[in-house]
């Protein structure tokens, strides 16, 4: 059954001592339908606005390389290093903005969805400045679409330069394309993106597709490309001539165009297998690792009935009683744990804003590495694990406890009284054992650390 505390803990960013908890499912959905206040207040640069910096960085790197052994090298090397340092500082600021959003939002479900879909569509830079541009990718390509149609979200993510780079699509060349024929070096198809689109993004690993569909989709995808100057580009000379057949439907032809690629993505987006896959993943992420089949079916059928209208899909999730099982069965991943702890501690926005990148790194971002979640560096295109056991390892839990004991005093001027903090951070989920620990700890810092380490706070 709905309760404000459960709503904030399970579907939001956790309880805050200052901000009122959300009052109803309708309230959650209405806020999500409204403007994105947090993105406007705590901004992260738009991906495309950073393209000129990509170009500058590549040029500087090239110049530095060709100046090797000459007198100009040292100066160019210094320039290169300071450019890179600044880019890393900017990335730390973006991380700080995400913590701010989690701390200040009254629309916590949106933050959770941005993380969920950013992970579903994991894309990572593999070299140079792109390695630092994960947050702008999520903010530009994912976040604006989290409550729209799944097809739009899919197209936006899959055709984004960072995704094309990450899954090698920019190098995939139709064997019969003009580009391949002109080239002296062997060039060819790369199936990486096509496979992940079906396996991870849409139909799911057991989905009704064959290797032949992967191959055909890879041929259809040829031409999807980007360049650092202009961003996304469709390059016809890389495209494999002729039409392709994916899951029995024919797409494209000559001349090659972008529209048939959008068409196949729209069809994949509303495929019944996609509905099942996405529904299950949402329920696993938000409710529990072994989900109630009735809840999954309910969400999947809404997905099918609305052709993947995500606002409706979320409404189906939130209206079902199984979504409100009172026992907290999932574990917060490290980022969510740290962010919700900052929210519970009411870390002041000015404190975060004024902190140096180094302070943000040492106090918030780098500890995530020891907790097993180096920010924006999931292991592969399948993103972070959903199973709780992957996080609550000896090493992961040790790092959470250490952070919980030591970090709060860095971020708030005065630690809250433990007996009060138990109530404000856990609400109805404070059990006798946590209350006892909060009372019996020898120091205030240990008491706060224990409360934040408790299963009641770690779970959601």
């Amino acid at each position: 059954m709905f309760s404000p505390a459960l709503a904030e803990i399970r579907f939001g960013c956790g309880l805050s001592p200052d901000l009122p908890a959300i009052t109803s499912v309708e309230d959650i959905l209405q806020r999500l339908a409204g403007p994105d206040h947090m993105a406007a207040t705590y901004q992260i640069d738009d991906f495309d606005s950073l393209l000129p910096r990509l170009v500058d960085f590549s040029r500087l790197r090239r110049d530095r390389r060709s100046a090797r052994g000459s007198d100009a090298y040292d100066d160019l090397n210094d320039q290169f290093k300071s450019f890179r340092k600044q880019a890393r500082s900017t990335r730390s600021r973006w991380f700080g903005q995400i913590i701010q959003r989690h701390g200040q939002t009254k629309d916590g479900f949106r933050e959770r969805l941005a993380l969920f879909w950013g992970d579903h569509f994991t894309a990572q830079g593999k070299s140079g400045l792109l390695r630092l541009m994960g947050a702008p990718y999520v903010d530009s390509a994912i976040r604006p679409h989290v409550s729209g149609s799944f097809a739009d979200l899919l197209i936006s993510a899959v055709t984004h330069p960072l995704m094309l780079h990450y899954l090698d699509q920019g190098r995939s060349i139709g064997p019969g394309s003009r580009s391949a024929q002109k080239s002296r070096r062997p060039k060819g198809l790369n199936e990486n993106l096509a496979r992940e689109v079906m396996e991870l993004h849409t139909l799911g690993v057991g989905g009704p597709y064959s290797q032949r569909d992967v191959r055909q989709l890879a041929e259809l995808f040829t031409g999807l490309s980007y360049n650092p100057k202009k961003g996304f580009q469709f390059r016809r000379n890389m495209a494999e001539p002729g039409a392709e057949t994916v899951l029995g439907n024919q797409y494209g032809g000559d001349p090659a165009q972008l529209e048939p690629i959008h068409a196949v993505l729209r069809d994949l987006a509303i495929h019944p297998a996609t509905a099942d896959h996405i529904a299950r993943k949402l329920v696993v992420h938000f409710v529990e690792d072994t989900p109630d089949p009735a809840l999954v079916d309910h969400v999947a059928s809404r997905f099918r009935d609305t052709d993947g209208d995500l606002a409706q899909v979320y409404a189906a999730l939130l209206e079902h009683p199984a979504a409100w099982v009172p026992e907290l069965r999932n574990v917060k991943p490290p980022l969510d744990f740290v962010a919700s702890a900052c929210r519970a501690l009411a870390v002041h926005p000015q404190k975060l804003k004024r902190s140096s990148p180094k302070t943000l790194n040492k106090g918030l971002m780098t500890p995530l590495i020891m907790m097993g979640q180096r920010w924006e560096r999931a292991n592969g295109p399948d993103g972070w694990p959903e199973q709780d056991a992957a996080w609550i390892t000896p090493q992961g839990l040790a790092a959470r406890i250490r952070w919980a004991m030591l970090a709060p005093r860095q971020w708030v001027t005065r630690l809250p009284p433990p007996e009060q903090f138990v109530e404000t951070s856990l609400g109805d989920f404070a059990d006798g054992r946590v209350r006892f620990a909060a009372r019996a700890a020898e120091t205030q810092a240990e008491a706060i650390g224990l409360i934040l380490s408790s299963p009641a706070f770690q779970r959601r």
Binding site: S127, T366, M371, A389, I392, P394, L397, E442
Partner: protein, 402 residues
């Protein structure tokens, strides 16, 4: 994960009333391990320069390619076989070479070609597949999946970086010596009691505290009081030695496989300084492992150090080398047939090179690892070729083991 209350109740009953007095005394399972030999895999991240690790001074083209980074006995290299000299940074390992406990395989690589990205190169090295994106788990985990009786402590991934080669369906353990949890006795007790109803948390805490003891044993009983808890930040500096000490401690017990990384091999500039430090760390690591496990276990241990790719045969303008293809693999341990350099030397004339710039790979690094696992652990060739390294042709046995 479902909460297994029965499991928890059983455990509580075993610990019984003493739990209050000594709540963190967990029963350590000394299950008999499924096999007795030890395998240590070290990933050297960044791309080690094979031509500087094993300086091929006997090749007539070598000296002209490496002028600033000149090697061979006339430049401080330690002669190994009249053709190759060892980088002086690995001098501490010479006694192992002389005893036949150190060897190399020259000119090996993964199937990765042409792109030369660390990211993809390491992914492929750890996936063990022929191409990228073909499998999601790592080859060392797939090896464990083939073996019966594997428990979580059978294999340890050590240190802060991800060890993708050990990830997958078989249970493994992760720990980093710098993850140690130091709590006051009161905080320990309260944390333990607070988690008592949640077995996943309770077990992880108990194990974390137990693992945190390692390395502090032998100190005074109140060692915990003397150590101060620090923020969970990866340590810098001598972490390789702590990792090796921890690995040795586990390998003396029920652990049969350990994997960890040593970083810092991407020597685009000032390679002389970079490799001196890197090989120093690698030497210390191997010697710490050997001393830590002791003679009996060292005798049945094989250490494999592998890297994602080699480097260009020509030095660049900043006293370094750039990303290449063929590289070298280091073997150590009492189980290996050391004192020799395996592999087929491809030569260094322009026509011998891969893409006219890199050492030409003459063998697959996966085949070397496969033969070692074949001999050391007894896993079937068909499983190695079909499952552990799907599609690999292991070829003839190179005889890397005694």
């Amino acid at each position: 994960m479902t909460l297994s209350r029965r499991h928890f109740l059983t455990r509580s009953a075993v610990i019984g009333c003493s739990a209050a007095a000594s709540p963190l005394l967990t029963p350590v399972s000394f299950a008999s391990a499924p096999w007795d030999t030890r395998l240590v895999v070290i990933i050297l991240r960044g791309g080690v320069d094979a031509l500087d690790m094993l300086q091929p001074y006997g090749d007539p083209n070598y000296a002209a390619l490496r002028t600033k980074l000149a090697g061979g006995p006339d430049h401080g290299g330690l002669d190994l076989d009249g053709f190759h000299a060892l980088h002086p940074g690995l001098k501490p390992l010479m006694p192992l070479w002389q005893r036949g406990e150190l060897g190399f395989v020259q000119a090996v690589s993964t199937p990765y070609r042409n792109r030369r990205s660390h990211f993809d190169g390491q992914d492929l090295l750890e996936a063990g597949s022929a191409g990228l994106g073909e499998v999601r788990d790592g080859w060392l985990n797939r090896m464990l999946q083939q073996m019966g009786g594997v428990e979580s402590r059978t294999a340890f991934a050590i240190g802060q970086g991800e060890m993708k080669l050990l990830q997958g369906g078989a249970p493994t353990s992760d720990w980093a010596p710098d993850a140690a949890l130091v709590l006051s006795p009161q905080a320990k007790l309260l944390a333990e009691q607070m988690m008592v109803d949640d077995p996943m948390f309770h077990d992880a805490l108990a194990e974390a505290l137990e693992l945190s003891q390692d390395g502090t044993m032998g100190l005074a009983d109140d060692a915990d009081d003397m150590m101060e808890m620090t923020m969970p930040l990866p340590s810098r500096g001598k972490s390789h030695q702590k990792i090796a000490e921890f690995a040795a401690e586990r390998l003396r017990g029920e652990t049969r496989v350990a994997a960890f990384s040593i970083n810092g091999w991407d020597t685009h500039s000032r390679q002389a300084a970079g490799l001196k430090a890197g090989f120093g760390r690698l030497s210390e690591t191997i010697l710490t492992l050997r001393d830590g496990v002791g003679d009996a276990i060292w005798g049945k241990t094989a250490v494999l150090a592998m890297t994602e790719f080699g480097r260009t045969v020509r030095e660049n303008g900043t006293g370094g080398t750039d990303h290449g293809t063929g590289g070298a693999m280091l073997l150590s341990g009492g189980a290996i047939r050391g004192g020799r350099i395996y592999g087929q030397w491809p030569g260094l004339t322009e026509a011998d090179l891969f893409d006219r710039r890199d050492l030409m790979p003459t063998a697959d690094v996966r085949a070397q690892a496969a033969w070692i696992m074949r001999g050391l652990i007894g896993i079937d060739r068909s499983q190695l070729e079909q499952v552990v390294f799907p599609g690999l042709d292991m070829g003839a046995d190179p005889g890397l083991l005694l």
